[in-house]
């Protein structure tokens, strides 16, 4: 399946080929091949422990794959460390929100500008004009992103004071600040109420419309079915099915393994 997508489009941004990772004999990710195309939202669903987060950690350099290839914009990502992956244009969020708690909302997003800026210790310590100008640009860009995600008014609050839903959004904002071509969201709706989830769905669509491809690991089925263009179903580290939301909903294997009859009724 992944192969047909690969061949049918020249707009492929990220591919993995037969990616494998095991932890002490347990195959967390087994031969996952996927393709993410420009301008689309791809959902990855599957029961707990299916290997979804492990897949994210492999792509973003937090884990090293046992075998298989990760390709991003024609560049092999195997062996990249997390910061190199971020530099190459992939940003991510975490399942358990990982914010910089002792910083303000704005500063959190400013950190996200790190891979696109370069002032070092000397420039910072002596406030050299280049570093000063850059700092100004970082601040402007971060403020712009906060407006985009809808947290503009909270810029100077400590990030730990934000309600949980806003913390998730802030984490997305920080990821966007790295100017990614591809954004990986790890269960962004978990812990959010219905209206926050709808709001989040709209934000993700706006991100896609801005030309950033999105990969979404999510348990909230209504959100996934509504906003995703393609869905990959994982079970026990393997690909169970892949296709459009409609195809997935009608796939008997998926229904049997994961969704359950009532859920789709």
């Amino acid at each position: 399946m992944a192969k047909t997508i690969l061949e049918s489009s020249d707009q492929v941004l990220l591919t993995t080929e037969k990616l494998c990772k095991s932890f002490g004999g347990i195959h967390a990710v087994k031969e996952i091949s996927l393709a993410v195309r420009v301008g689309l939202i791809k959902g990855i669903i599957g029961p707990n422990g299916a290997g979804k987060t492990t897949l994210f950690n492999l792509i973003t350099g937090f884990y090293v794959a046992d075998s298989g290839v990760i390709n991003f914009k024609g560049q092999r990502l195997n062996g990249f460390s997390p910061h190199q992956v971020a530099e190459s244009g992939i940003a991510r969020t975490f399942q358990n929100v990982e914010l910089f708690d002792r910083m303000s909302v704005l500063e959190n997003v400013m950190v996200g500008r790190h891979p696109r800026t370069k002032a070092g210790f000397i420039g910072a310590a002596f406030r050299l004009s280049g570093a000063r100008r850059e700092e100004e640009l970082i601040r402007e860009k971060a403020a712009e992103i906060l407006e985009f995600v809808g947290l503009g008014e909270r810029a100077h609050r400590p990030s730990s004071e934000l309600p949980f839903g806003h913390q998730r959004v802030l984490e997305i904002g920080r990821a966007l600040a790295t100017e990614p071509r591809l954004l990986l969201l790890d269960e962004p709706a978990s812990g959010l109420n219905a209206s926050e989830t709808r709001e989040l769905g709209r934000l993700i669509c706006r991100i896609r419309d801005a030309g950033i491809a999105v990969v979404l690991v999510e348990h909230d089925m209504s959100l996934t079915m509504e906003i995703c263009d393609e869905i990959l179903v994982m079970d026990y580290g393997r690909t169970l099915a892949e296709g459009t939301p409609r195809q997935i909903q009608e796939n008997p294997m998926v229904i049997a393994a994961y969704l359950g009859e009532e859920t789709i009724a």
């Binding site: 910083m103 910072a124 970082i138």
Partner: protein, 325 residues
């Protein structure tokens, strides 16, 4: 932005002014000497605070960098007759090199393991100071280190040295304030709060940790050189493990991740043993006790702890005002 900058310049400016008043009012040589030591300790603690308070990496071997600065300055100026200022620069270069060599493997470790590695490093350097008798003079120390001079003016009076040390320390404080409020400073704080999120935000956590280790070693080296030229005699006991612990205590008491807290911590723990001379043999017990009490009751450090209490008080007052209305 500009407001923050102006506020910071105001802070540093008034701090400098306050310090400039001291030699006009204080003429007692002993007090001035204590002030010099506070300055040297502040310099050390401000540097260590960048590593510990901001980047969240513990070093139990910082006395070694202080010692490397002092001994390099001492040996070059006595045995090899190099003039003090170039010797000080050489000390910085050597210390940074050592810091990088130690930091590259050590900073791959985290938490207790990093603490243990730096502890081991500190002990090794201390043993070198003691055992390389031909170079360092061994346990009996190195004597006859010249005092510093600027041009023809020798800074051999405590008052003159006070000015030199505090100019250097105030400059170091200003530089640190600039660093923490910059791209690099944010990255350091990011590493402290969440190393994985820092990595995902494009920060090379390992490289940055090594660099901040080296930067804090520069502070320690300069402090060491200033120390050597001030007391003109150095021996290994000034650079032992206990001194490393004292430095860590100063950072913690002052408040992690607070530059002004570092000044406060250094001042408090330099003055305290002088005041409590009766306890002199037990001062390390006292330090341990202070560390424990501060960690239990004010984990953010004394300055932050006091500010928190003040905030709480103000908040309650505001609320009671609202309720009464």
């Amino acid at each position: 932005m500009n407001r923050v900058l102006r506020y910071k310049s105001f802070q540093v400016g008034s701090f400098g002014l306050l310090l400039a008043l001291v030699p006009l009012l204080v003429t007692n040589r002993y007090y001035l000497t204590v002030m010099v030591f506070i300055g040297i300790h502040t310099l050390l603690v401000v540097g260590l605070n960048l590593l510990m308070g901001y980047a969240g990496q513990i070093s139990l071997g910082h006395a070694a960098f202080f010692g490397l600065g002092a001994y390099t300055s001492g040996i070059l100026t006595t045995t090899y007759h190099v003039s003090p200022w170039p010797a000080m620069v050489a000390a910085v270069v050597l210390t940074v090199t050592v810091a990088l060599l130690v930091g590259i493997p050590a900073l791959k470790l985290t938490g207790y393991y990093l603490a243990m590695a730096t502890l081991g490093f500190g002990i090794i350097i201390h043993i070198c100071f003691k055992e390389l008798v031909w170079l360092t003079g061994g346990p009996s120390g190195l004597v006859g280190i010249p005092t510093l001079g600027i041009g023809k003016i020798m800074l051999d009076e405590p008052k003159a040295y006070y000015c030199l040390v505090w100019v250097a320390t105030t400059a170091a404080i200003a530089l640190s304030l600039n660093i923490v409020d910059s791209r690099v400073g944010r990255a350091l704080r990011a590493i402290h709060d969440s190393e994985s999120a820092a990595g995902a935000s494009g920060i090379s956590t390992s490289r940055l940790k090594i660099w901040v280790f080296a930067v804090s070693a520069v502070y320690a080296s300069v402090a060491g050189s200033l120390y050597a030229h001030f007391i003109t005699f150095i021996s290994p006991s000034s650079f032992d493990f206990m001194f490393s612990v004292k430095l860590v205590t100063m950072v913690v008491v002052g408040g992690m991740a607070s530059i002004w807290g570092a000044v406060f911590g250094a001042a408090t723990l330099t003055v305290l043993p002088e005041v409590l001379t009766t306890f002199h043999d037990y001062d390390i017990v006292l330090f341990g006790l202070i560390l424990m009490v501060v960690m239990i009751f004010m984990p953010q450090g004394l300055t932050r702890g006091a500010l928190d209490i003040w905030d709480k008080y103000r908040f309650q007052r505001q609320r009671s005002l609202l309720v009464n209305r």
